[in-house]
């Protein structure tokens, strides 16, 4: 097992180097000179331009800029935002709980609906429910998040007035953050109405962010379930005279869930990518909105380090999933 783990970690190193190169190259491949982009119509006097280039280190050869950047990152220094002048890591830590909270609820939404729907579709294979579910899942998977989010806002918040339009909590609630998770902090402060407000603000963004994972999970559950239902031991269980519900719920589902757990883990990347759009639409103060703001502000330091931090998280989660998978399924370890 240790050997397996070390193998996996060793594989991460080239990935990590690749990511630093990508993040570094990405901001430099964007059209436009960062200093001129900052200046706008005003332009910059040539002398001042040179001065600023030096100040930001853009006058150095590109390999030296990269070496400097990697050196800084290796010591945990992710740089200082060009626009806010705050350390990037500090902003990340402040904002990440919001993204995590939203992703958590989106995942709950996706699992609570996706897994039962997938099971049901598999059991009733070929029925109208199965076909319409698979059709809907395909639509959900292809749904443009931006359009879907605005549609829900206009209908549920604008037309029906059931949910708040955007934000994380009602503006009248104002308390000191403890964990950074609004639902937990409101309870820690003993404010039930604030907790309700935080939950109601989570409904629409969680649905929007959870839609694609929901589609993936439903499809994955269905196919895993179908495979398992055809196995000998399921037939044996049925032959023993067990009830249908017991065969499906205990014998089939336990085994079918193994690939589903992996899928859920791998959806983390999808969630973080989706968070960029979802948070922008719902004014959700997380890292997705932060990245978009920074791109608009041409804050290259934040974009570069933010990409790297997000990539690190996705890599860490994938590693955990790999390990969990090996724990659940011993055959993998030998391979």
């Amino acid at each position: 097992m240790l050997r397996y783990l070390l193998n996996k970690i060793a594989l991460l190193i080239p990935t990590l180097v690749g990511i630093t190169i990508c993040a570094f190259a990405f901001v430099r491949l964007l059209p436009g000179d960062p200093i001129l982009a900052m200046a706008g119509e005003h332009g910059v006097a040539p002398a001042r331009y040179e001065e600023l280039k030096q100040q930001f280190g853009y006058n150095l050869p590109i390999w030296e800029q990269y070496a400097r950047y990697v050196g800084e990152v290796a010591t945990g220094d992710f740089g200082v935002s060009i626009s806010s002048k705050r350390p990037v890591l500090e902003e990340f830590k402040t904002l990440f709980p919001a993204t995590l909270e939203l992703s958590f609820f989106a995942m709950i939404f996706a699992m609570v609906i996706g897994i039962p729907a997938g099971i049901f579709a598999a059991v009733k294979r070929g029925s109208w429910f199965d076909q319409s579910l698979m059709g809907t899942a395909l639509v959900g998977y292809s749904m443009p998040i931006f359009w879907w989010g605005l549609l829900l806002i206009i209908f549920f918040s604008g037309y029906l007035g059931w949910t708040p339009v955007s934000g994380r909590i009602g503006l009248q609630f104002f308390f000191k953050p403890i964990t950074g998770f609004m639902t937990i902090d409101s309870l820690l402060h003993g404010k039930w109405d604030a907790f309700r407000s935080a939950l109601s603000h989570l409904v629409l963004p969680a649905i929007v962010l959870g839609t694609i994972p929901l589609a993936v999970i439903a499809r994955q559950t269905r196919s895993a379930m179908l495979e398992v239902l055809g196995e000998d031991y399921v037939r044996t269980a049925r032959a023993k005279g067990l009830s249908g519900a017991r065969v499906i719920g205990v014998h089939a589902l336990r085994n079918a869930l193994i690939p589903v757990v992996t899928t859920i883990g791998l959806q983390v990347g999808t969630l973080l990518a989706g968070a960029i759009l979802t948070e922008t639409i719902f004014a959700w103060p997380g890292i997705g909105k932060w990245m978009v703001d920074s791109i608009f502000k041409r804050d290259y330091v934040v974009v570069q380090s933010g990409l790297l931090l997000i990539a690190l998280i996705v890599m860490a989660v994938n590693l955990i999933v790999d390990v969990l998978y090996a724990v659940i399924n011993p055959r993998i370890r030998a391979a």
């Binding site: 904002l95 206009i154 918040s157 955007s166 703001d293 608009f296």
Partner: protein
Amino acid sequence: MKKTMTFAAALLAASVLSGMASAKTLVYCSEASPANFDPGTTTGGNDFDASSRTVYSRLVEFKHGGTEIEPGLADKWEISDDGLVYTFHLHPGVKFQTTDYFKPTRDLNADDVVFSFDRQFNKQNPWNGDKYLPNLTWDYYTGMDMPKYVAKWEKVDDLTVKLTLTEPNAPMLANLGMDFASIVSKEYADQLEKDGKMADFSTKPIGTGPFQFVDYQLDAVIRYAANPDYFKGKEKIDDLVFAITPDATARIQKVLAGECDVAPYPNPADIATIKANKDVTLMDQAGLNIGYMSYNTTIPPLDKPEVRHALNQAIDREALIKSLFQDAGATPAENLIPPTMWSWDKDVKTDAYNPDEAKKVLEAAGLKEIQLWASDRVRPYNPNFQRAAELIQADWAKVGVKATIVNYEWTKYREEGKKKDRPGAFQIGWTGDNGDPDNFFATLFACSAIGVSNYSSWCDKDFEDLIQKAKKTSDQAERTKLYEQAQVIFAKQAPAFLLAHSQVYAVVRNNVSGFKMDPLGIHRFDGVDKAE
């Protein structure tokens, strides 16, 4: 970082929770998070809304909703006859805001004023460089050429400050009303320096403005309370909240749902919905900007004014504006400066659409081909350079001129475009900084701006004399006359095709009173009230 709940914040929370009736709260759905709260170091309109226009005041102020200058922290001022020395007399007894992180022990005085400017250029000042914040650039101070014009700031006595210039420069007064010229507290700066917490100066602001800072939850909510000691009188609203909402459609839905009271910049597509709603009002105004297209006036046959007029006449401007701006609309530009700016001459008109006349002149001049420049960037004064180029190309084809569209990425575009020998017609525009006509005429068409921002390479002696004289004259009535004459010459010489001043919008709930559109593109909440 923002984790300390302040005493004032506790008060605010308590008052809010104990019932909304006691405190009047106005919610503004702002479009982006502020970079920080020190207006000397930032450049965005949203940064200024959140700092300089709420927390701070300046020596002079722009009239609410206009570009005229009126007294601010300075009750009055004198300008020496040679235009070199400005003496400001400060309003006595102005108090800096008292919060849980700072308790002022003295009133505002000349030291604060001198410090506010000194920190922006004096490299010896500890607040000028990395000791305060990393990579400071003081963009507006240098962008407005302050280092070139300012010789020195001096304290005469506690309530008198003297500014000496290197050469006469009438727009200086307007510069001092700009956001970067906000007056900060030297006492607060000294205290933070002593405590080794200099960075707090940009995150926990202290000013003399109408509202005081309470709390900022990064990227989400900014809270302010009315400044009880505000020298122009306490505001009618008790609490001001900025709910940061970047998506335009979500912002408008929030106003319609009553989750916020004021929101800027709706999507053009939502304008019909807003107009149809009886709870809100759509406010609009021609922005302090101009979209135009510069002809290189040094390359024949574009050196002849009649050829430039003919090219202007060949363009169906009304159709062009409609196609570019759609439902958002725009005010067709008759002058380089927008109608909201003082000295705008209502009698001056630009070329009317007349393709037949244009064809005759252009045939006679032998103009068959021309370069037409376009870039990829959306600008407030021109949402789509490429589409504009295609429409103008079609119009010119009708009068026998074949236009070739030249494309570059935005920064490269401006680099290439400003070269003296750049051929053809170059689409560009400008958004004003300080509401002074000099900021348009001299910045864009002075002889000295050739190769910098005079994309027409146009140097007309009469025009130049007028704008230079206006720059050195302190009397506004006299300056107005000079600029009016300059506009007449500009219309006659036509160094550029004038497109439009884009429209700026805000959506306001009907129970809000006193909110005004501002030509400078800022959003101010002093003087605003809300009926419950």
